[in-house]
Amino acid sequence: MTLGDGVKAAALLFVAAVAQVSIFSGIHVFGAVPDVLLVTLVALALLRGSVAGAVGGFFAGLLVDTATLGTLGLTSLVLTLGGYWIGRYGETTGRDRAHAPFLSVAVVTVLYQLGLLVVHFVLGESAPAGAVARSLLPAIVLNLILTAPIYALVRRLLRPVARDELTAEVQLLG
């Protein structure tokens, strides 16, 4: 990842985080909130790999926790793991597949919500499993609607890198 790419990725995540906490968090559809930050992070991780996904997720989560005056590190933890996991998927089986962004967004939306649920539960905070379960399907649909335009925008800003660059860290067994 070049310095220019890093600056672009940081700017993208910053704008997405600010838009998420200021605008999108106020849009409630059937109990779900569209997550423009999560979709942007998925696009970034798919295009730039697991390390970029994890680092981007960490700092984006930190921005969200700071802006919402929430428990620092909570969103960072979940987004770091989510960004890393999607990055690995993009580096391996998900590469060059047209459905990869949509599949990733659908899966990571579920894992993100469940991850937050677990962390909140562990911290002894409110962990409304029923409400989360009811909002999962609308959240997936809303995020899938956002996927195509956001992925296209991120792909336009961050051109896909060469395949061997992405797979440099993958170890083949056997």
Binding site: G26, A67, V119
Partner: protein, 275 residues
């Protein structure tokens, strides 16, 4: 390795933030970060405002006919009530004096209001708090009640120099002593099963009716002061039921305040120097 390091840092941040949520260096850094992000959030809100206005305009047009019919019915009902209230109004000064005497509180004279915008509305089922654009520099204090134009929103749970965090009525840890204006029955408003607001601890021998208005009960005795002054509207009783096995009535409450998407709120700050 980078990922492991980031996870460890995140866990350390959670630990520090969780152990000292209202004080310490991390709290100050978070406050400074929040202040730094504020202009960007305001800018984002301003950019989004025309789109919100357009959406509200078209939604308003779509609902205009229904609203018109509904409002005409309400006007007819209010006209009838107005005559009745005019007669009652003559008794108000005497009742007010009596009420002040019985309550022993001076609300609202004991409070001043800090009106402010909502920076981040609650997003998602986990969020039972919102961030507001006023902090200790504007006079906001911890445990100050927060209202919108319609009723009680929650209470200030964390204060930074330029911002503050408000815990909503719907938070599982929120408990508000309430009184039924019609019957005088007292109870505790908090979140019940399924995330709905309920009026709890109302014995089955008491009478609460659907449609009754609830307000904050305020302080009973000076020894145990309530965080909420008397008379802040909370909501309307939407349903009342009782079972043979339950000790209390099951009273569901529909809040007056728009808890999901309030855009501006007022913080009621006591004029007393220390609470």
């Amino acid at each position: 390795m980078i990922v492991v390091g980031l996870v460890i840092v995140a866990l350390a941040l959670i630990t520090i933030s969780f152990r000292s949520p209202t004080a310490g260096a991390l709290h100050d850094i978070q406050g400074a970060g929040s202040t730094a992000l504020r202009p960007f959030e305001i800018a984002a809100n301003r950019v989004a405002q025309p789109f919100r206005d357009a959406y509200d305009y078209f939604r308003g047009l779509a609902n205009a006919k229904d609203d018109n019919k509904k409002l005409r019915r309400e006007i007819a009902a209010l006209r009838a009530k107005d005559i009745h209230r005019a007669a009652l109004a003559a008794q108000v000064p005497a009742l007010l004096r009596l009420l002040h005497f019985e309550q022993g509180s001076r609300f609202p004279s004991g409070y001043s209001v800090v009106n402010t915008a909502v920076l981040t509305p609650p997003g998602g089922p986990f969020a039972h708090s919102l961030a507001i654009d006023a902090g200790s520099s504007a006079g906001v204090r911890l445990d100050s009640p927060v209202v919108d134009g319609a009723g009680l929103v929650g209470i200030v749970s964390n204060v930074f120099p330029e911002t503050a965090s408000v815990t909503l009525l719907t938070d599982p840890d929120s408990f508000v002593a309430a009184v039924d204006l019609k019957t005088g029955v007292r109870g505790m408003v908090h979140t019940g099963p399924g995330g709905t607001l309920i009026l709890d601890q109302v014995g089955k021998q008491f009478r609460v009716n659907a449609g009754d208005k609830l307000v904050t009960a305020g302080t009973h005795t000076a020894r145990y002061p309530d965080l909420y002054p008397y008379g802040i509207p909370i909501g309307t009783v939407s349903s009342v039921s009782a079972t043979d096995t339950a000790t209390y009535l099951q009273v569901q409450v529909q809040p007056f305040a728009n808890l999901g998407s309030a855009s501006a709120v007022g913080v009621l700050v006591t004029k007393k120097p220390h609470r």
